[in-house]
């Protein structure tokens, strides 16, 4: 009996050990996690935890770090090496888990952390060539001595922090997921840069467009998917003459019907990744100095996407936001220039259908001959599972991302290869370093020439009064609409063979209007001689910004803030009065009449408390579906629908149109019928979802904004934020997406700046600096930015100072 009890107690003990020492599904290992000596209990931080002296192994000299009231580090170093070492060290101190996790995502290594459920994601990341591109890029970057020094210094700083960690001080997420950080390498920074390029590469509508063209015809595509959408005010004003001799592509590929249908839009980056930026000359400002505004729109997450920092050496003093995991300042200002970015949205990624000889995929057809493909073998480690080997061919048209599930009539297998400008080696790190050092427009332009991917609209102001905008990046030389469809990757026709010369890219400086701006719309008018793409953001934000800037004078920070937070819905102003006229009010009952009355009285401002803003948005979406979803339901998927401005023009101009008819009903619907039907459907569905018309219908409640934790762990994010704005509105705040950094700069003798991002400096959910700025971001407040120099350290005794002391 005693033996039995002993065995039983040991079995129980071992079972408990196993349960508490290992993760159980999404539950962390509770023994480790609850351990008050090393588990989550140790991740608390309080406001006053600032070390006065830190002994840091690997520094070459002493570095001083001033912490301001928002915990932004202002780093003062004597050498280039030390400033980036300190940046790596301090960023890792605040954001280690986030920066490492993001590189795992980029490299397709998530299975190593969460197991087999991430395998398909990892395979896709590798086939898209992110890891391959990062490997090529880091080799290229290492060839440049300065870039190598910066990257290595940063990596050394990160690794010094990692070495200092104990089981107790590990970031919370490592404890939640039960793993440990690995050594940081310069490759990881390259991976992050490629991941940023991927996130901003935009839309993959080629397959949809090929299918639509093959099914509904070329005329349909030309009419409803134009390169230049109605009402668009391009980034570079249409009137600008282009005084250069443009290159022409050798050949334009003929129309092609792909044999292999694959939904390319699944897993593509958020189509709303965009931004606003603008600059106004001193003639339009109250101070007489040029001013700049920028707000990059990205998926909103905690820890925050950006890390604010000031980097100072004897030859550099720059302030702005950095990407955790990459040295230098991506968006910011120095004493002489300030800059901001929006996504260029031009097309830098094309899909090609490749014909292979057999299922070994070792040879493919090119110019009538079978040529060898390079096979790349990816080793994917799976947590608690067997390692998976995934191999795919690399062709002249890029890596084969999708393998066809059936063969061509001739028996040959096919697949889709992806050619992406970011596959090529480039040195964005050097570009950013030189942007940080730029002293005027000329040196800034020289710097951004190296910023090849992602394509960005760089807006800049300089202390000498210049304002400028440049549609920057590396764009393939292609014929009209070449990148709009899937092309046959069978010969040189359609193959990328050259690039648009850098000096011929769209740019403008000091225009007579006194301002420049961009909002992801088409960068150019019809007279620009190159094809850059077609799938840009609609006109609304760009148009509204330009309208406002035209009217404003004696501009102050407050005016710029108001424009950032502008909730005016230009599209509603255009369409709502017309739509309301079509409504058969007599046939409406109860709440519906009240809602029509509220819509009629709405001033088109999508403030958070506005019910009409949400109703209109939902009505419009249903109206779009009513028009397009029957015709564009092809091969079981709703294909890409035309832009809002195209649909709006049709509705305004055409009383009858074949596409208004719902092909699933016997009667013939016209414009008024579908508008009324969409309205009633909206009312029924919103009532079902939100209850009777009331507070719950307010934009800030019905939609609001959620800033989730990167792992979507409930309790670590900030949800239910009462926000206004939306798609096509300058304040482009949406459910989980929006302005990730609002920055204003005035470039006088001493730059003045304001900024905010929706989160905080720390990535630790246990820190008061994790989400301290969220409420102020929702309220549209900005923080004064402290652009310090060395004399401020001694002059201001209130500043918290940490000395990073060299320790060998």
């Amino acid at each position: 009996m005693r033996l039995f009890k002993t065995i039983l107690s040991f079995v129980l003990l071992l079972t408990l050990f196993n349960l508490l020492n290992n993760s159980q599904g999404s539950i962390p290992p509770l023994g480790k996690f609850l351990n008050p000596f090393a588990g989550f209990w140790q991740n608390g931080e309080s406001l006053d935890q600032i070390d006065q002296v830190l002994d840091v192994k690997g520094l070459r000299d002493e570095v001083q770090v001033v912490w301001d009231e928002r915990h932004v580090p202002h780093i003062f170093a004597n050498t280039t090496y030390d400033v980036y070492f300190a940046q790596g060290f301090l960023t890792a101190r605040h954001r280690l888990w986030q920066m490492e996790f993001q590189t795992h995502v980029a490299a397709g290594r998530v299975s190593e952390i969460i197991g087999e459920k991430a395998l398909e994601f990892d395979k896709m990341q590798r086939r898209r060539g992110l890891l391959m591109a990062a490997e090529t890029t880091i080799q290229h970057m290492d060839e440049d001595t300065e870039t190598h020094l910066i990257l290595q210094a940063y990596a050394n700083g990160v690794n010094t922090w990692i070495e200092s960690l104990t089981p107790a001080t590990l970031p919370l997420e490592y404890k939640l997921l039960n793993y440990e950080p690995e050594v940081w390498s310069t490759l990881k920074t390259a991976l992050l840069l490629k991941f940023m390029a991927w996130d901003l590469t935009g839309r993959n509508s080629e397959m949809d467009m090929s299918i639509i063209q093959a099914t509904l015809g070329e005329a349909f595509v030309n009419a409803y998917y134009p390169q230049h959408t109605p009402l668009t005010d391009p980034v570079i004003p249409s009137g600008k003459p282009w005084r250069f001799e443009a290159m022409t592509p050798d050949s334009i590929p003929p129309a092609f019907v792909p044999q292999f249908v694959q939904d390319l839009r699944k897993g593509e980056p958020d189509e709303d990744n965009g931004s606003n930026n603008w600059a106004v000359s001193g003639e339009k400002t109250a101070s007489g100095f040029p001013m700049l505004a920028n707000d990059p729109h990205l998926g909103l997450k905690l820890p925050s996407i950006w890390y604010e920092v000031q980097l100072t050496t004897p030859d550099m003093n720059v302030y702005g936001v950095s990407m955790p995991g990459a040295p230098a300042v991506i968006v910011g200002f120095n004493r002489d220039v300030a800059w901001g970015v929006t996504n260029a949205a031009s097309d830098v990624l094309d899909w090609f259908e490749i014909e292979f000889k057999d299922t070994s995929y070792s040879e493919y057809l090119y110019s009538g001959e079978w040529i060898k493909s390079d096979m790349r073998i990816e080793e994917i480690f799976i947590r608690d599972g067997d390692t998976v080997l995934d191999s795919f061919p690399i062709t002249r048209f890029g890596p084969l991302v999708y393998f066809g599930d059936s063969n061509l009539d001739n028996g040959h297998p096919v697949g889709l290869a992806m050619r992406w400008s970011a596959h090529d080696p480039s040195n964005e790190m050097l570009a950013v370093r030189n942007m940080n050092l730029a002293t005027d427009r000329k040196t800034f332009y020289t710097a951004i020439e190296d910023f090849e991917a992602p394509g960005q609209n760089f807006v800049m102001i300089a202390r000498d009064g210049d304002i400028a905008i440049r549609h920057n990046g590396k764009y393939p030389l292609r014929g009209q609409d070449q990148g709009k469809f899937v092309r046959a990757g069978r010969d040189t026709i359609g193959e990328w063979q050259d690039w648009i010369p850098y000096e011929q890219l769209p740019a403008i400086s000091n225009p007579w209007s006194g301002f420049v701006s961009s909002a992801n719309q088409n960068p150019v008018g019809k007279n620009y001689p190159y094809y850059l793409g077609w799938d840009y953001d609609d006109y609304e934000r760009g148009s509204r910004i330009n309208d406002r800037l035209e009217k404003l004078s004696k501009i102050k920070f407050g005016d710029m803030q108001d424009l950032h937070m502008d909730n005016f819905n230009t599209q509603a102003e255009l369409m709502l009065p017309f739509l309301l006229k079509q409504i058969d009010v007599d046939n409406l009952s109860g709440d519906m009449k009240t809602i029509v009355s509220d819509l009629s009285g709405w001033n088109y401002v999508s403030d958070p408390q506005e019910k009409a803003a949400w109703v209109y948005k939902q009505w419009w979406l249903r109206l779009e579906k009513a028009i397009w979803n029957d015709e564009l339901n092809i091969f079981g998927e709703i294909r890409k629908i035309p832009t809002r401005s195209v649909t709006a023009r049709l509705l305004l101009k055409k009383r009858n149109l074949v596409y208004y008819d719902d092909i699933d009903t016997p009667e013939q619907e016209g414009r008024a019928e579908i508008i009324n039907r969409a309205f009633k459907q909206t009312m029924v569905e919103l009532t079902e979802a939100l209850g009777p018309y009331g507070e719950a219908w307010e934009l800030g409640r019905a939609r609001g904004t959620d800033i989730n934790h990167l792992l979507s762990v409930k309790g670590l994010g900030r949800t239910g934020l009462f926000t206004g704005g939306g798609q096509g509105i300058v304040n482009a705040t949406k459910k989980t997406h929006g302005p990730s950094w609002r920055m204003l700069v005035e470039m006088g003798d001493h730059p003045r700046a304001k900024g905010i991002f929706p989160g905080g400096q720390s990535g630790n959910p246990g820190s008061p600096y994790y989400d301290n700025a969220v409420n102020d971001w929702v309220a549209g407040k900005y923080y004064d930015i402290h652009f310090l120099d060395a004399t401020d350290i001694d002059a201001n005794s209130k500043l918290s100072l940490t000395r990073l002391r060299n320790y060998q």
Partner: protein, 118 residues
């Protein structure tokens, strides 16, 4: 009292230096094995000692700068409050140490009995 204080102090010192959570198994197992007479002393004594240590340490961490993290994790785990979370932490420690202490005591009884027979 000594049966409570001894495991409390030993586990505290070991965890302070080596962090690992499984000291709350190993120490009660050994102490249980060393206990000659009472299964209750071996199990409940070590269990209470570890409970007091983990609960007390959790409360200390909570109240000394850990308010934010404790509130968040309480929400993540559906614990309701930091106190409940600290109590749950203590109870996990208690349960593990209780069983380990008893297992150690039982093992001694089996081994010593077998030795006496042989």
């Amino acid at each position: 009292m000594i049966n409570i204080l001894v495991p409390l102090i030993i586990v505290f010192l070991l965890q302070l230096i080596f962090y690992s959570w499984w000291w709350i198994i190993l120490v009660p197992l050994v102490l249980g094995f060393l206990e000659k007479d009472s299964a209750l002393k071996a199990s409940a004594g070590t269990g209470l000692g570890v409970f007091l240590l983990w609960f007390g340490m959790a409360i200390y961490q909570w109240k000394s700068g850990g308010e934010i993290i404790v509130t968040r994790i309480a929400e993540v785990m559906g614990a309701g409050s930091g106190f409940v979370l600290a109590l749950a932490t203590g109870l996990v420690g208690f349960l593990v140490a209780l069983i380990a202490g008893y297992a150690g005591f039982s093992l001694r009884k089996v081994l010593i009995k077998e030795y006496q027979i042989s």
